[in-house]
Amino acid sequence: MHPAPSVIFFSVLSGAGFGLLTLLGFGARATSQGWPAFVFFAVGFVLAVGGLLSATLHLANPKNAIYSFSQWRTSWLSREGISAVAALSLMGLYAALIIFFDIRVAPLGYVAGALCLFTVFTTAMIYTQIKAVPRWHQPLATPALFLSYALTGGALLAGAVAHAGFLFLLTALIQLWHWNGGDKAFRNAGTNMNTATGLKGAVRQFESPHTGDNYLLKEMVYVVGRKHAFKLRIIALLFAALIPSFMMLGEVKHLGALIAVALYFTGTFASRWLFFAEAEHVVGLYYGKR
């Protein structure tokens, strides 16, 4: 699948933002108020909203985006939009009460926090639901992957060091689980040249239907750059999980935290890039490619 920068930025940034807001909703930094509280909430909102705005760059016809709130009964993308708006509205109210009136309405924080986490889950489900991309169609591992990256980033940004160290290790394990399942997924899905064409015997492409490129090949048969996949996996694992996890063992001051955040985002971008670039859509079979 084509690793569109807008979608990668969206899922990494809004993931971390919603992760941070989730923890703030559930009472991390509960002693902060006024300006310090404002800074934490602002970081969460900037990341979450910035990510969502980045995602709209992916739309070819954004003037109709308003209709995307209508199909929550069937569509995970629609659910994501509704959930994001609800989460950000309630969280905004919760934050405003804390910042301006020093009133902490804990139940409101829980509801808003849960909605933030649910928003990350809906993002994950947009990919998980797609059966035609077997690497994504892992009903447990894909949502776990998105949730763990989001919560880890959130814990790091909230300065919840005690939780972050544990979450980093958990993220590493879930990431390995997702890669392991993903590497076998295409074969296990049972879709191959024979089921795609219904022809028996050894089937290979003789002639492409068109001489030029097309939308399908650009969007879904992205085969460039996979040669560095292994190196990028190591980078993702080290930067997004293992190195920050060890940093959390010691006393983390501002500079250390900044380095940990930089490492986390570098590793998470690598992981998310791979999530797209390594994902193979079954339509590639029709073109004799994967």
Binding site: A60, Y67, A132, T195, L216, V282, Y286
Partner: protein, 248 residues
């Protein structure tokens, strides 16, 4: 709503005969023509005089098939929307632009509601949907919904453009929900199959596999008749002479 109809009694679709298709791409051209000049945003071309690429609703692949026994074969393979019963492209749509018609099972896109997110194209395992790069809306086979019910057209033209134009008669259009229809009979007779059945999409369109190559019961040399041996036993006068001389 992008919920799928529970069942549709009429299931309009195509039956494509892989035995008959000669790979001429006439269906591709007629499809592009009809759907550029009629319903919805035209099917654009990008850089048509350079690295040409553009939107097509129907494309013809060609495959080389090497069976376990026997010689290799080339199979031309036209592919367009299969109008699946369990269409994954419809349910993922966030705006309600994608829908499956209850009355005849055709899967369509309402371009006035499409935001061009491309999720439906991801969800389709067959690559039947292409986002038009000029219009920014999703395009797909409409089964020529603007022809098949169009009373302004002569009756013989009330079928999809690809079917109407196919010079080999490799494409058939009809109601696959009716077991007595011509297309259903054809599928039953020829053992029509679904593409990627394991994807669980229940496609309406069916593909007729190439007929098995026939075999001869005996080992007959094609040059045999020409090499027929000269009669060893002479007949007539020579035969009598032969026998008479034998007796001497």
């Amino acid at each position: 709503m992008t919920a799928l109809p529970e069942t549709t009694q009429t299931k309009l679709g195509l039956v494509i005969d892989l035995d008959t298709c000669v790979g001429c791409h006439a269906c591709v051209v007629s499809c592009k023509g009809w759907n550029t000049e009629n319903y919805g945003a035209p099917l654009s071309d990008m850089d048509p005089y350079g690295q040409a690429e553009g939107t097509f609703l129907n494309r013809v692949h060609s495959y080389e098939v090497v069976p376990d026994l026997g010689t290799a074969q080339t199979v031309h393979f036209p592919k367009s929307c299969l109008h699946c019963e369990d269409a994954p492209c419809v349910t993922v749509c966030p705006t309600g632009a994608s829908y499956k018609r209850t009355e005849d099972g055709i899967v369509l896109v309402n371009e006035d509601a499409c935001m061009g997110c491309g999720l439906c194209a991801w969800a389709c395992p067959y690559g039947a949907r292409e986002l038009d790069q000029a219009a920014g809306v999703m395009k797909k086979c409409t089964l020529c919904v603007d022809r098949i019910y169009n009373e302004n057209l002569p009756e013989e033209d009330r079928e999809p453009a690809c079917v109407r134009t196919c010079p080999a008669g490799a494409r058939h259009f009809g109601d696959l929900g009716d077991p007595d229809s011509d297309v259903s009979q054809l599928v039953a007779e020829r053992g029509g199959i679904d593409l990627m059945p394991e994807q669980g999409t229940k496609p309406t369109n069916k593909y007729l596999p190439p007929r098995p190559k026939d075999t001869l019961d005996t080992d007959i040399d094609v040059l045999g008749p020409l090499l027929a041996p000269v009669a060893e036993q002479p007949k007539g006068f020579l035969g009598w002479l032969d026998r008479a001389l034998e007796k001497l």
